[in-house]
Structure formats: structure tokens, C-alpha cells
Assembly symmetry: C2
Homo-oligomer: 564 residues x 2
């Protein structure tokens, strides 16, 4: 297999060929956005966000870098969205307003995008177009067919994109689930037909490649919820993702079966449930869903609460409940809390904290793989083999996952007989160029992480993040030095303020620093050496050394010189 | 079961009864230290450290709070150590010098403690005493018998502590492994004998209670390593814990079998391997272990490298190799890297990053549960049931684990017929009092986390940590205001310095803040309102509001007033 890191980097200016460029935040490759470019046309597949890693403190979201797209703005024909998860639609409010082009997707996906754009008052200026599976859209030299795939949100799609160099199949996020819930199965017939027609390039989801075998069907969580609704002595509180409509449906069905009413709690989940009910993607078997206020006084064993916070998000409804900080719901002995999700890497500590606090409040908490209350939405290894066998692509580009997933996916494909040089392992922003009989890497486009922090988009760079990490490690010390402009000597002992460094403002280490600094600056020679910048740097160096000697810590030291 | 959080808090001053007090860092209960107190005597079981959580930035280690022990210093008779892992011995360098008492443990454990104390030049002043399994030590009214348990370090012990109110059994960390490697199995005979004699209180490891069934034996990793050593085309680099002597032995054995020499790389692993060889806990079947320099030029398939860094620790040998920053070893295509460990919660991101980087450098990486290169050292649910059936304790105190593990352990014990009010779920610092026929919670002793940061021990409090977290989120802004002492008005535009807030020092948001502040302070009335503290607070408020309005971020704002 050909790994992008191992090949020469050059840009070719040859005749039009198909270019494919993946974008993604943090470590994942091609997760959030993919560009297809041919001649004077570009189409965009997906437009999502990543959630920040530990090394990005204070950052709200990470969105794809669209420098390249903006440079070629006139070429952009349309956005095609595979499904309605944040990591595929969440960047639309930031990026869509920059381009005057339509967005195509299925009804539920357009519904989820609508909720998002309406909140930002961007709905009226957006051109959203609902398609159905099987439909084909022309966009320049591209012809895009949506086909149904099963995933953890209904109405998910894979794309078959006919281009002048052959058909590109992009799986989107998928699993081969033949018994999904309120959702269509992956259209194996379409995949087989495409395989027969000939697939030039397959871009395939690698997220689950570490897992052997097949991912269990969504319907396998039914029996676990049946037992929970039947046997729990009190209220059942189920936390899952707001977009996991199929899961919400199962909770509603099993609640109804055992005469429980369901209250939906949490803004994003209420919005999504209402939208999915309106569009017919969620069904209420008979007044089961009720506002909390109307049913809060029912017997506890007649109550189910659906809410968000399965990932431990600190401001979510479930985290508030665990911290006795929820406006409406107080956890009490006899409650059963179900975490119907697997913690995303990095969220384990937050999720554990919630589980512990819920147990402390007397709840029974059902969580973890043994509880069988969650299944993955991504394919295991045998499903990926099935996909390859059915589509028989000429070239394979593993996407969605970190580099290890892509490489493992590529290796597995080699065992199925795909030649090593027909498997391309990209990195984000790496340009792949395809002709009818070749595939190669031909350069790079900008693909750094663009950070959203508060109202700011892209105005947070690596220096700011490095400073934040530094500040968090040992805190900050600020020295304010008042210099006599004439003599270049300090007028009095410097002021020192610190935060996050030592407990006590009168700490002898701080006081020692003040004395040392005052003494040292007394001996500064007047004239050039008393330049404020010189004094400022000298003061910083003196204090850094002093603090490190005394504490073996390295706070950030800032010095400000005031001349009077 | 009786949960400490749900009972009245009071201190009793009745006649001598047995008190047991657990201590632990972060979320784990009783993990790092346990006190047993009877009349005028206290013994200490274990003395370990915890590694800091995400909410403790910059902290190196967390050690137990010994306020209570220092208050009763004269009562302290001895330290008894169950095994040589950091979370059971790591705090000895900080705590042992405060008490002039002996430390008892098995030979390998004393060896690991020796390495640690020698490094800190504390060995000569310490009284370390090696015991053998089956031996009994008198310490005031306590009689302490060590018995063998299997764990992921050899020579681990459980303790049977005879006291005037009955026998207390503390399992330490254990699993019921009947085929361990270079290590003794858990002494089921001793446990059965104790059960027959009568166990008053059982303190038992709850870490693995979420796992159904039995934990696989250490010997089950042998076949996986056999295959790896036989089939890998180049060098094999195995990363594991420096104390996992049994694992190191298996790697040595399988390397020798396929004619590979083994180089040990990384300071802590070299120290431990040498010590274990000296004490006879590790065996070299015939010049297999060699210094790196001597074997570095052998054919790659004749080489194994044993190293640390399986947890992604940034300064470990493996992380350096993954980042092309290791002095001696450069990862290349054909290398096989084996991660023989499970990431500790919180380390997942670091471990993933290393795996990705190793793949990028061309290595094959073997990791994860499917690879069968690691097994847990803690008991699964069926082993805990076995322990309860064999020891038949009157009272059960689940320890080692977070509160959810303790509660799940307690519930499981109820299903085995232990009465609910005979199961005590403690928190750290909670005092449990036992008589021959009763058990209850009787108060609290100080048990906060004591932080080690650089040279400082315990001089970092919650305010410092809160400040560090705040600083990491949105950075810091410092305003320096020079006031005319007479008029109370600013002499010139204030200086503003920021770090971790916005990218550019000349950012219009910062400049806007300067202008706004200057204008506002112009209108300060002279006399009382021009007190520096008043101006300082006003400046802070103005800037906080300004920055939040403009950015929706909340940097820490500090203001310093200089009067001239």
C-alpha cells in the first residue's frame, strides 16, 4: 500500500484528472469533509466538526480548513451530505455562508441541518435540497447517486459518484445492518450493482477495523431495553446521543410496552425528537411522549426520561443530574440510569465521574459493553471484507479513522488481493490524483485545524494553545517594575502577582523573587542597558531561574516595565 | 449495604475498638494506604501514589494525606506493604521519613522499595525488613501474616491481620491465577484456612468487578509472544510496565527460544531488571539479556528490545521512539512494536498518538485486547465470588476502585448471602469501627489529595488548580495602570499584556480594551474612589465585560495599579 508520508511531494499541472482531497480535524483522516475536483468543478462531500483534544484547551470546536476551496470558489458546485451527525454537518453554519451553492441530502439529514441553520439564523439564506435514495444529481462533470446505508442515525447514505475517470464510491459512515430499527438497511444490491458496473475508487469507513467479526445489529439492543423497562423498580433515565433516533425509538417502544410515559429532557434532544416526529422518522405508538411537567407525578415505574449526556459533557442534562444541579430532575434511590453509548476516546474520565456520582445518589447505573445497551454504528473487519468483495474497487482509499485504522484497513485489503500499490493511505490535505488506470499523490493543500472558540473562528493559533497548555502546567507570574526614566533604576520594590503557581500570595518564594529582582535591578547601569526591553527581559530571566531553583516548576513569567 | 455517604457523622470516644481507615488519591478508595488502629497502636498497610487526573494540571503525583497519622505519630508501629507497584509503594519517599518505624514486605517488594529509596538517598535512614510468605509479625496488638497472592508483579501478598476483635483479611491487589509465570499462585489454602478460623472483616480488591467471569492467567500471553517472536520479520520492541517482571520473563523466554537477544532500554526498567535478576525473580536462560550497544548490529530478526512507555508517558523511551526523538533507537519499516498493557483511563489519547506515529514510521504495532498480549492483574466477578465463598467474612469492605466498583462489589456480595448491613462502602478518610459483633461508620479524618509538584509537597491547593484550569481555558490578560497619586487619574494609556487569549498582541480586541479602560478611568473621581484597590477592581470588571462581549471568552483578567 502507498502511504502518503513515504512519497515525493510535487504538484502536477497536467491535463484534467480526478483529484480527491480528504479533510478532518484532530487525528481523524477524511472524517469531516472530502473534495472531488475535475477540471473546473469541485464538489464537497460532508462538512462536519471535530471535538477538541486534550491539547486544545478552551477550544469549542475544530472545523475544516477551507483555504483551498475559497481559492477556487467559482469551481464549487454543491455540497453532498452523507448523514446528519455533527462530524458531517456541524461545520455547515461556518462554511456554507461562504459559498452560494445547494446542499443535497436525505429528508432526515436535511431536517437535522435545518435545526442547526435555523438556530444561527442562516436558514433563509441556504439552499437545502432533499433527495431520496436512488436519485441522481448532476453537478458539473459529476453525477452523484445516493444509496441507503445503515448507521446510528436513520436516512444515512453512501454516494456513488460517476466521474469522467470512473465511478467513485464513498461509503460515508456505515455498517452492514440487515435489521436496523426505523431505518433502511445498507443497500447491498446497490453496492453489488456498482461492483458489476465497475468501481474505480472506493473510499471506505475504517473506524471499526480494529474490531474482529461483524458489528451487532441495532435491533440487538431491544431485548436489553425490554428487560430494563420491565424490571426496573422506579424511573428509567436513558442517556444517549440526540441524533440516535433509532435508539430513541427503541426506548419509546419498550416504554410503551410496559406502560411507561416518556419525557424528553435537554434542548438538543427535544429539537431532534420533534423534528423526527414531524418528518415521520420517529413514531409514538400512542401518547407515550409527554412533556415532563405533565407526567412528573406519575408513579416512578410508569416513567422513562430520555436525555443527553452519555458522553459526560459537563453542561448536559445527565451531568447536571449527577451533580444535583438539574433544574427539574433530582436523582434518588430506586432510579435506574442507562448510558446507551460508548465513551469517545478522551471522555472516559468525565463519564466515569458521572457514573460514580449517580451511584452515590442511590441510582442503579447500567453501562458498558456487557450491558448490551449500545452497539457501534461502524463496520467490523468482516463487514469491510464483505464491502470489498461486493464492490471490487480498482483503487482503495481507507478513510474515517486515525492513521492506524487506515493502515490496518489497507493491510486487510491486501489479504483480499487488492495490489499494494492500488491502496492509498492519505493524510488530511493530501491530494490524490486518479486517471482511468493510475493513482498517485500529487501534493498538499492547506488542511490545518481551524479552531472555534467563543465567537472567534480561526483566530486561535498554535501559539495561543501552547501558551494555554503552559499556563495550565505551572501558572503565571507577572512582575511590574517601575523604573526612573532618568536613572534607569527601580523606584521601589517590584509588584509581583501570581496565579496557579503557589498557594499563598505572601509565599516566601514570591517575596524572595521580589527582593532578588529589586537588588539585581539596582545594579543596572544607566544608559543603553536601562532600555525598558532590556530590563523586561532581564527581570523575566531572573525570576524564571529563581522560581525553577526553588520549586523545580516553570511558571510563565511576564514582566511589565513602567517608566516614570 | 451501608454506604458511608448515607449515615450520620459522629465521633465516638468509647472503649478501644478496631478502626479501619482507607486512603486513596483521585477517585479510588483505599487504594494507596489503609490504617488499622486499636487502642494505642496503628499499623499502616501500603503507602502509594496516584497519578493526577485531567483536573489537576501540572501536578506530578498525588500522595495520601497523613495529617491523622502525624497527630498520632507515637502510636504508629510499622508499615506493611502488599506489593511493589507505584500505587502501593510510591509515597514511601515522602512519608516514611516522617516515621521512625520498620517497613515489612517480601524480598522483591523490598527490592523495588530499595531502588526507589536509594534514588532519593533515603535508603540508609530506612528500616526495611524482608519477610517470607507464611511469616507472622507482631506489631502491638496486631499479628500480621503475609500470604501469597498472584498479581501482575511477583511476590505480591495478602495480609491476615489478627486483632483483638477478630481477623482482618486484606487481599491487596490480586487475581486467582493458578498458572502465573515466575510467581506464586494465590494461596487458596491459606484463604480457606482463614475462612475456617473465621474472618471478621474482609477488605477486597474491587478493580475488576465490572468484568464478568475469570481474568485469564498470566501464562495465556505466552502463545501470543511465541507467535510474535517466531513470525516477526525484524526487530520486536515490547513496551510494558517496568514492574511487570512476569511479562518481562515471558518476553525473555520466547526471545531465547527463537534466538533473539534482548536489550533492556529505559532507566526504570534497567534498574528493575537488574534488581530482579540479582534477587532471582528473573532468569536469563543463557546470555539472552545484553546491553544495547553490544547487540545493536545483529540481524533485526535476532533482536528484541524491552522498554517502557506502554501508557504513552511523554518522556518514556517508547514515546521518544514514536516521535523520532530517542537517542539510540530509530523505528524503521519492518519493526514490530508490542504494547503489552491496557491504557489506564485518561491515557487513551497519549497511547493512540504513539500507535499512530509508530505506524507512520513503518512499524507494525500489536495492541489491544484481541492481540492477547496483556491480561489484567485484578479479579473478575467470578473470582470475587470464589474469594467470598472461601473466606466467608462476617463483614465485607470493598476497596480498591472507584465508588461504582465498590457498590457493584457490595451488591454482588448480597447475592451471595452477606447481609446488607454487613457490607460497608467507605470513602477515603471515613472511619469504620468494628467490635466482635458490630461494624459502623464513626466519623472522618483528613483525607484530601496531597499534591506533589516539582519540589513542592502539599503546597498546591484547590485554588491553584482552579486557577490553572481557568488559565488553560481562555488564557490571561494583565492590565498595568499608572495612576497619578494626586489626581487619581491615569498618567497614560494602560499597558495590556495577554497570553493564551488571542493570537495577535495588536489584536483590535486588546486595543479596544486599552482605549475603553483609559476613557473609563479618566472619569474616576479623585479622593476615595481613586483608591488603588478600587481602580484595580473597576479595571478588571471593565475588561472582563469587554472581552466577553467581544469574544464570548472569559480570560483571567488581572490588573495592577502603579501610583506615581
Amino acid at each position: 500500500m502507498v502511504f502518503s508520508g513515504h512519497q515525493e511531494r510535487y504538484i502536477t499541472l497536467a491535463k484534467p484528472r480526478l483529484r480527491i482531497i480528504p479533510f478532518g480535524g484532530t487525528g481523524e483522516i477524511g472524517k469531516n469533509m472530502t473534495l472531488l475536483e475535475y477540471g473546473n468543478s469541485i464538489i464537497v462531500v460532508d462538512c462536519g466538526v471535530m471535538f477538541p483534544e486534550e491539547t486544545m484547551p478552551g477550544i469549542d470546536l475544530v472545523i475544516p480548513d477551507v483555504t483551498y476551496l475559497l481559492d477556487k470558489k467559482k469551481k464549487v458546485k454543491a455540497f453532498f451530505i452523507t448523514h446528519g451527525h455533527e462530524d458531517h454537518i456541524g461545520a455547515l453554519p461556518y462554511i456554507l455562508p461562504l459559498f452560494d451553492v445547494p446542499v443535497y441530502s436525505t429528508a432526515l439529514t436535511i431536517g437535522l441541518i435545518t435545526v442547526k441553520l435555523r438556530e444561527r439564523r442562516l436558514l433563509d439564506s441556504s439552499d437545502l435540497r432533499t433527495i431520496t435514495h436512488g436519485q441522481r444529481i448532476e453537478a458539473g462533470p459529476f453525477n452523484v447517486e445516493f444509496f441507503s446505508v445503515a448507521h446510528s442515525v436513520p436516512d444515512a447514505s453512501g454516494l456513488a459518484i460517476r466521474t469522467p475517470v470512473g465511478t467513485v464510491v464513498h461509503t460515508g459512515d456505515f455498517k452492514i445492518d440487515l435489521t436496523p430499527v426505523e431505518s433502511k438497511p445498507t443497500d447491498m444490491g446497490a453496492l453489488a450493482r456498482l461492483g458489476t458496473e465497475g468501481v474505480q475508487v472506493l473510499l471506505a469507513d475504517s473506524t471499526g477495523v480494529e474490531r474482529p467479526g461483524y458489528t451487532p445489529s441495532e435491533s440487538t439492543v431491544g431485548p436489553a431495553f425490554d428487560e430494563i423497562m420491565r424490571n426496573s423498580p422506579g424511573r428509567v433515565i436513558v442517556a444517549t446521543f440526540a441524533s440516535l433516533i433509532s435508539r430513541i425509538q427503541q426506548v419509546i417502544n419498550k416504554s410503551a410496552k410496559y406502560d411507561r410515559k416518556v419525557a424528553v429532557v435537554g434542548r438538543s434532544m427535544i429539537q431532534n425528537v420533534n423534528m423526527a416526529l414531524d418528518l415521520g422518522y420517529l413514531h409514538d405508538p400512542g401518547d407515550t411522549i409527554q412533556p415532563w411537567e405533565k407526567i412528573m407525578n406519575l408513579a416512578p415505574n410508569k416513567l422513562t426520561i430520555m436525555t443527553t449526556g452519555a458522553q459526560g459533557e459537563p453542561t448536559s442534562a445527565l451531568s447536571r443530574m449527577a451533580n444535583r444541579d438539574h433544574r427539574q430532575i433530582t436523582i434518588r434511590t430506586g432510579d435506574t440510569v442507562v448510558l446507551s453509548a460508548t465513551p469517545i476516546p478522551g471522555n472516559e474520565e468525565l463519564v466515569s465521574r458521572n457514573i460514580d456520582n449517580l451511584f452515590r445518589l442511590g441510582a442503579n447505573v447500567i453501562y458498558g459493553a456487557d450491558a448490551k445497551v449500545h452497539v457501534s454504528g461502524h463496520p467490523g473487519r468482516e463487514e469491510l471484507k464483505m464491502l470489498l468483495s461486493v464492490t471490487r474497487p480498482k483503487f482503495l482509499v481507507p478513510v474515517h479513522g486515525e492513521v492506524r485504522h487506515l493502515i490496518l484497513h489497507g493491510r486487510m485489503a491486501e489479504t483480499l488481493g487488492i495490489p499494494a500499490d492500488h491502496i492509498l493511505i492519505p493524510e488530511n490535505g493530501r491530494v490524490m490524483e486518479f486517471s482511468p488506470d493510475s493513482a498517485r499523490f500529487v501534493g498538499h493543500v492547506p488542511a490545518s485545524n481551524v479552531f472555534v472558540d467563543g465567537l472567534g473562528v480561526g483566530n486561535i493559533g498554535d501559539v495561543v494553545l501552547r501558551d494555554r497548555v503552559h499556563l495550565s502546567q505551572d501558572g503565571v507570574v507577572i512582575a511590574v517594575i517601575t523604573l526612573n526614566r532618568r536613572t534607569g533604576k527601580p523606584v521601589n520594590r517590584p509588584d509581583i502577582v501570581s496565579r496557579g503557581f503557589v498557594d499563598d500570595v505572601d509565599d516566601p518564594i514570591i517575596e524572595g523573587g521580589r527582593d532578588l529582582l529589586y537588588r539585581s535591578l539596582q545594579h543596572t547601569h544607566a544608559n543603553t542597558s536601562a532600555e525598558p526591553v532590556y530590563v523586561q527581559n532581564k527581570a523575566r530571566d531572573i525570576l524564571q531561574k529563581h522560581f525553577f531553583t526553588k520549586t523545580k516548576r516553570r511558571p510563565m513569567v511576564l514582566s511589565v516595565v513602567v517608566e516614570v
